[in-house]
Symmetry: C2
Subunit: 306 residues, 2 copies
């Protein structure tokens, strides 16, 4: 089983409008809702790859109830911990004319110290059955900035490989707790290390504590810096589409590769193929499975020689 | 008791953002929710005036449950009829910098023929205890365009004075059923009658079936054309503020004046004072009660001589 943690789950709402015009009134022509937050997105991709997947984190209030109702219809198993606050919504306003979206993200519920303690007990229990764990996304209000560092240490004590995908100070603290893998994008990596050049920044992130670093470089593919060597994987050609969810698909590729004991080149091929197939899918956050199968044979990997 | 009908209730959600920039991502700094839809807004003002007030219409799904929880804390009594569909949300994105808002309105749940029939039974029961009824706002999907005409006829059969505040084809059909009063704004009146000049258009609307017509003319006050004569009421001075809810406050002023048996001039003074005090209140849809009391003595009314 693969466990994903989403401390700040969200009900992702998409509003179709003909065109968004600030300071005017819009009739929304279509409303779609789905369970969201990075770890839930990762879990959906893992389940589509055939992995037994469990999601934990927090959900509460009327919005949390809607999220859990929608989640119940999907393969990932719900081990979310109930909180008193209301789960946040994210609203993506999609312009029918251009396909561009405007994002409005609620802040998320305040999580109390008791709720955090309850979550830690659930997390420890779930780790006993996990082959790997992915810690994903932002922290909701009320949770201490060292929360991911705490979760990384608990996973390492339990002997479960742990991937951390977050940003800012929670990433900085989390890396110091020595996770098996971090997956920053170029901006997050530069913000963490001060270095804009990805190879140099990835080496720096390893020095800060991460055993391995995979930097996602958008259309330029991914760069891995690991104890076994460094590799660069690139898609066969530039693709056009919706990049929403591509990073979460990459995390699913990497964590499933870790759970299955794949080599680093094979983990990277899977991650790049999945994220590219996600950009190609018409719906945000879905991946095109035919394109994925095809890309698995066409993503190029090269080893870096120091 | 005064009854208000809101067939398309809404959970009114306000998002505070620093500034809305299309095709970018926004962190919402504050989320507020309140029960909405025109008839619910009218009821809130009626309750603030001290009137025993009952609200009916439809509510359903998780959003309907949130709406009813919030409504339970307010004075108007909840006689909403449950539907299977999910009550709509309206999102007002408020720019902190300019105070301007961008409105996103969901379409509302589909109402089935059985749900409509169930509502009609509730409505007839409620009319037996009502001194007046206000029918407010748009029709949700699934309800026939002659719905307000049906509700007007039922009220008239029950001997309850009925005010209709809607627009477009539902207004056109509703007027033909001879309501006691319609309260269009200048645009709605022009759309109905084809005449831009309010006095002429109001006379036309009477010929179409309305016993009385009160046209709301924004900063120019209100114009009443009734079987007893025609009057114009104007605020003492132009005011600056947020006009959201001013029309609903005017309806509350008119329907309470009907229930109390006030003269036409006194009904108009109350309606203009309430709507002006609503523009002056900092929160959308609230009214400034000190300003209201003051305006009652300062709104001017003039009788039109044919």
């Amino acid at each position: 089983m693969i466990l994903t943690v989403t401390l700040n789950t969200a009900l992702d709402v998409t509003y179709a409008v003909p065109a968004l015009v600030p300071h005017s009134s819009h009739r929304v022509t279509e409303v779609t809702e789905r369970p969201g937050g990075k770890g839930l997105n990762v879990a959906r991709v893992l389940a589509a790859l055939g992995h037994d997947t469990v999601v934990t984190g927090f959900a509460g209030g009327p919005t949390g109830a809607v999220l859990r109702d929608l989640l119940a219809a999907l393969p990932p198993r719900d081990a979310l911990v109930t909180v008193a606050g209301n789960t946040r919504r994210t609203i993506a306003v999609a312009d029918a004319a251009t396909g561009d979206t405007t994002q409005l993200n609620e802040p998320g519920p305040h999580v109390s110290a008791e709720e955090w303690a309850g979550f830690l007990r659930t997390y420890e229990d779930l780790l006993t059955g996990a082959d790997a764990v992915a810690l994903c996304g932002s922290l909701p209000p009320g949770i201490h900035v060292g929360a991911y560092a705490e979760l990384v240490r608990t996973a390492r004590t339990a002997g479960v490989p742990v991937l951390l995908d977050t940003s800012g100070e929670p990433l900085r603290r989390g890396i110091a707790a020595r996770p098996d893998l971090v997956k920053p994008n170029a901006d997050e990596l530069a913000q963490l290390t001060g270095a804009r050049e990805p190879l140099r920044a990835a080496h720096d992130a390893r020095r800060r504590g991460a055993h391995s670093v995979v930097a996602s470089l958008g259309p330029d593919g991914m760069l891995a810096v690991t104890p076994d060597g460094a590799w660069r994987a690139v898609p066969p050609a530039a693709v056009r589409g919706n990049p929403t969810g591509a990073g979460d698909s990459a995390v699913a590729g990497l964590i499933s590769g870790i759970a299955e004991g794949l080599s680093w080149p094979d983990r990277l091929i899977r991650a790049v193929a999945l994220s590219t197939a996600t950009v190609l899918a018409p719906a945000a956050g879905e991946f095109d499975s035919a394109a994925y199968e095809d890309l698995l044979t066409r993503v190029g990997v090269q080893q870096h020689t120091a």
